[in-house]
């Protein structure tokens, strides 16, 4: 029983390390392939598909996150007479943590899953082999445009997320919690600094790279038909989210200490 448990743990550790190594290798390959000029039409298509089409769901998520954050903070802050700080707190929480992380989580669910399902179904129907046979590197053709798109589009989505989250907070603060418009905006001016936003945007770039690389890696390693595509897609979303949360902790330590 104990031996079997240890064997299972050992197997999982080895397979985790093996997958980690393969992900690093795919990332390196993608960077190496940047020496060739990417197909910019393809990159733009991916930017629209992965970025622009995700805007409504990101904005909806962040609007309500900003609103609920303000409901909770305003209620407590008013009890202690600190209502003049609500705007600043909401803005800083949005800029540093909530906008980057929640945007990345939404994108991992929407875009990461789509990348894996698309590349995974290409893998099981031999389309990836067809690319190789036609002397086209699958990393250059499939991974690089998605990586560039995610790294460029996630910070842009992050900016929208910041703005709409803060606006959501403003609406609730002024219409529901009885905080004046001046007080909300003044506290943002008082407490927030530019690094609250730029740090968050750096995070979104890292998260974008994670979503793209994990999505592509899981897709390129899909096996066993339609069932394999489903399993790879789920694995892609779960792995991306775990890596986003872990890397967010270390990025926060690096950027805001």
């Amino acid at each position: 029983m104990v031996v079997r448990l240890l064997e299972k743990i050992g197997h999982n550790v080895i397979s985790g390390l093996e997958n980690g190594g393969k992900v690093i290798r795919l990332s390196t390959d993608a960077v190496v392939q940047l020496r060739h000029k990417p197909n910019w039409n393809h990159v733009l298509q991916q930017m629209v598909h992965l970025g622009v089409d995700s805007l409504p769901i990101v904005m909806l998520t962040m609007l309500f996150t900003g609103m609920v954050l303000t409901v909770q903070t305003a209620h407590e802050f008013i009890r202690y007479g600190a209502q003049a700080s609500v705007g600043g707190v909401v803005f800083i929480a949005m800029g540093r943590e909530l906008a980057p992380v929640l945007t990345a989580v939404v994108i991992a669910g929407r875009v990461g899953a789509a990348i894996t399902a698309e590349i995974g179904s290409m893998k099981v129907t031999e389309q990836i082999d067809a690319l190789k046979v036609m002397a086209t590197n699958p990393v250059a053709y499939l991974v690089v445009p998605r990586l560039i798109s995610c790294i460029v589009m996630l910070p842009i989505l992050g900016i929208f997320a910041n703005v709409i989250g803060t606006v959501g907070g403003y609406l609730v603060a002024t219409s529901y919690s009885g905080i004046s418009s001046f007080s909300y905006l003044h506290s943002i001016k008082l407490f927030a600094v530019i690094t609250d936003v730029t740090g968050g945007l750096i995070k979104t770039m890292v998260f974008g790279a994670i979503v793209a690389i994990i999505g592509c890696y899981k897709g390129l390693n899909t096996a066993q038909g339609a069932e394999g595509v489903g399993r790879a897609t789920t694995g892609s979303v779960v792995t991306s989210m775990i890596l986003i949360f872990i890397s967010n902790y270390f990025l926060s330590l690096m950027l805001y200490r």
């Binding site: 290409m122 031999e126 082999d129 067809a130 046979v133 002397a135």
Partner: protein, 253 residues
Amino acid sequence: MINLKNVSISFNGKPVIKDINLDVEQGETMVIIGPSGSGKSTLIRLMIGLIKPDGGEVWIDGQEISQVNEDKLNDLRRSMGMVFQYSALFDSMTVGENVAFGLRQHTKMNDQEIARVVRRKLKMVGLSGQENKMPNELSGGMKKRVSLARATALNPRIILYDEPTAGLDPLMSATISRLISSTRRILKVTSVVVTHDMASAFWVADRIAMIYDGQIIACGTVSEIKESSDQLVQKFINGMSSPGQAAKRRAKI
């Protein structure tokens, strides 16, 4: 043109190809036959560098491909084409875009020149005017023909066919066999065809190699194979299997 020297490969410790030697001459059509799971498709994937052998050498056009890097392999692949068992058409692209793919990736042709080549290749496989259809609107036979048009778009010197008639009715199988022969005649290509469709094999082959349990057990011209004294070869080409237990019991009674 294509030379396999003592090639072996195993998957998960199970040997699939065992010390195979095979030479395909320039302009020749070599058909590889054998039962399912005997290693035919693995052999063809070795020839185009999709997998690397555990041992031995794979020579294509005077270059040993199992040791070269991806860039050199891609240079070589530009002179090769492959028709996949399930066609492997890019399902997000139209028929025309599929055929044009290699031209867009590897040539400096403008849109008009590419469209002209696409029209010519589709006409060659009897699919004129189908450029704007999506792969999911095509029948199995049409997909195979588009796959052939795509494989010939860059005028390759070698074409590999993986089960080109699998899953097709006899009439469509005959059409595909005729296309393989005419492609060879028009483009003067060297062809390797993996199949277990004997009618197609006898139609297109200059020589036939039979692979059984990872080894080549017979290789020769069509007439040599037809007259082979090897029992396995005769059973395979005549579609006979060993009698099952039920047949043996009935024979005893």
